[in-house]
Symmetry: C2
Subunit: 377 residues, 2 copies
Amino acid sequence: MGNSTLTNTTDRVEVKVDLAERSYPIHIGSPILNDNKLLNSLLAPHIHGTQVMIVSNVTVAPLYLKYVEDALTSYHTESVILPDGEQYKNIESWNSIFDALLNARFDRKCTLIALGGGVVGDITGFAAASYQRGVNFIQIPTTLLAQVDSSVGGKTGVNHPLGKNMIGAFHQPECVIADTQTLNSLDDRQLSAGVAEVIKYGLIRDVPFFEWLEQNIDSLLQRDPAALSYAIQRSCENKAEVVAADELEAGQRALLNSGHTFGHAIEAGMGYGEWLHGEAIATGMVMAVDLSQSLGWISSVDVMRLRNLIKRSNLPEQGPAELSSDDYLQRMAVDKKSEAGKIRLILQKSIGDAVLSTAFSEQQLRDTITANSSTAD
Amino acid sequence: MGNSTLTNTTDRVEVKVDLAERSYPIHIGSPILNDNKLLNSLLAPHIHGTQVMIVSNVTVAPLYLKYVEDALTSYHTESVILPDGEQYKNIESWNSIFDALLNARFDRKCTLIALGGGVVGDITGFAAASYQRGVNFIQIPTTLLAQVDSSVGGKTGVNHPLGKNMIGAFHQPECVIADTQTLNSLDDRQLSAGVAEVIKYGLIRDVPFFEWLEQNIDSLLQRDPAALSYAIQRSCENKAEVVAADELEAGQRALLNSGHTFGHAIEAGMGYGEWLHGEAIATGMVMAVDLSQSLGWISSVDVMRLRNLIKRSNLPEQGPAELSSDDYLQRMAVDKKSEAGKIRLILQKSIGDAVLSTAFSEQQLRDTITANSSTAD
C-alpha cells in the first residue's frame, strides 16, 4: 500500500507512518512486552535522554508496568498511574503528569511512555506536547481500540465538559508498540469497542478489508491471534496512509471520523465513560449510513451489511433512549468539523466510499437520530 | 539586519519575522489602536473565519478593548477578561478561555486576539495552540515588555507551581501590533520592567544598541515617542533574527534567556506577581555578569556599565533578602535549559557576547547569589 512498508519477521510486522523527519514505526505482534531484550531494542533508539516517565492507569499498570520498567533498567524511570476511564480524560489527569515530571525534575530531553488504552495515550501525548513546550513520547497501546486507531497519527488531547477532544495538539509519537497478547486481558465489551474502529476503515475506504471482516468477524471476536494481528496491521496501514497524506486534517483525514460526530454526542450526552467510545461510534456509523440512504446515496444492501457486521460484533445499533434529537444537535454543533455552527458529517456513497458532507436538512438529521434510537420503556 | 526587513511609513515601522510559511509582520508605531480603519486593515488579512475571541485583562480591557471591537464590527467578536497579574498565568485562566470559546461555539477557523501584556499573550497563545488542536492568533501587546519580547517568537504557555512556563507550546502569531501610545498608560514600575528586556538584547548580542541605551535611557524612561519606537524596533529586530535562525530553541535562542534562570527562581520563590518579570531578570543579569566576572570572563568595566544601566532604569540590582542560595538552586534545577539536573546559564564573555555555559562550580554560583542579594535587616 502506498505510504506504508511492511517487514515480516516471525511473529511481528512493522508498519511505517511516513511523515518525513517525523516518520515512525508501528511494531505489531507478540510476544513483545514480556521479552525484555526485544522490548529494550525497540524502545532504546527512541529514548534520547536518560529520564523516562511511564504513564499508565490502575487497570493496566498491575499487568504490564513491570515489563516496561524491566526493559529500561539502564534509565531513570518513574511512573504516573491515572484512574481508568474516559471520564478521567481531563485537564486534572493531564496536570498530574506535570506534577510528577516536575517533582522528579525531568528535563526537556525526557521521554514519556503511554502504557494503556486510548485515554492514557491521548492524555500522555498531550502532556508530552506541552511539557516544556514539547518532549518525546512513545505509545504502547494495550487495547484494540488504541492499537488500531488512537495510538497512531499524533492526535492528542483531553475532553472539556462541553466537548470531546476540544483541547489538544498534533504531536507524533517516536514509535508505537502493539503487543497483541495484551488483548487477552481485555473484557469482551472492550474488545468489541475496538472492533468498531476496525470496521470503520473498511466502511470508509477499504472494501476488501470490509469483506474480510464479514468473513472473519467471529475469529476476531474469539481473539484468534492471526486474525487480530491482521486486523491491526490492516487498520494501521489504512490509518498510516491517511495520516501521511493529511497529517493536520486539512482534508481526507476527516473521513477517519466516520460515526464520530454522532458518537461524541452520545458519549458526552450520557456522561463520559457510560458508553464506550467504540460503542458510540458503532451506533454513529449506523446513523451515518441511515442518513446516507435517506439522501439516496448508499444502497439498502450496503446498509444491511454494515448493520449485520455491527450486530455480529455485539455493538449497539441504536442510540440511548435518554437522548433526544435536540440533545444530539446541541452537542454536534460544537464538533471540530463544524464550521460557523453548520454540522458536517462523514456520509457514505457506498461501502468503501465516504464523503464529508453538509447535504442534509436538519429534519433529515433529526429523523435519522429518532429512527435509530431506543425508545424509552 | 539579516532576517528582518523594514518598511518606513509616517509613524510606523514594520519588522518581519522570517519563518517561511509561518512568517509574520510586527507593526510598531502610533496611532494604530484608535484608528479604526488602519487597525482593521492590519488585522483583516490575518483573520480567516468570522469568529474572533479577544482575550484581555481587567486593567487593559477598559482602556483598549473597545478600539479592537470597533475595528472588527463585521466579525462575530466575543471577549474573555482575565484577572491581572503573573499569579494568574495558570491552567485555570487558560481553561476559562476554552469555556468562552465552547459556550460561543467557536470552530477551528476562529481567531484569538491577545490584548494585553506578556501574561495575556502567553496564555492566549497557548489556548490558541490547544483549542481544537490549534487555531490562529494575533498579538496586540500593550506593555513594553510584551512589545519588545514576549509577543514575538511564538513561545506560549502557563506556569506550574513548581516552575515558570513549564506547560506550553511553540505557536507563532499571525501578526503583532505594537501601538506605542498604549505605553502611556503603564506605570513607571511596569515601564522599567520592560526596559530590562530591552537592555538584555544589548547585553547578549548588540553592542551599538547597548551604547545607544547608555546615551538614551533617560529619554526612554521619560517615554519619548521616538526613543520608545526605536527601542522596540531594535529589540524586535534582534529577536526576529534569533527566532528566524532557531525557532524551537535548539541553540542560540537560549541566549534570549539571559538573566532568566536566576529571575525565574526569584519570581517563583517570592510567589508569582510579587516581583515583576522584568525586575527579576534585571537582577538575574547582574548575577550572570557577576558570575562571569568571577570566572575571569567579562571585565569589571563591562560589569559596572551593566550595573549602571540597571540602576538608572530604576531596576533592582539585588535579589530579595527572603531567598537563600538553596532556594535559588532548587528552583534553578528545574529550569528548561537544565539537563539531567545540571544548571546551565547564559553568561557573558563581554557586553554583546553571551554563551550558554556550565563552566562554574556550585560554590561559585552560591557566592554570586549571596553577594548580590539584599541582607535581611
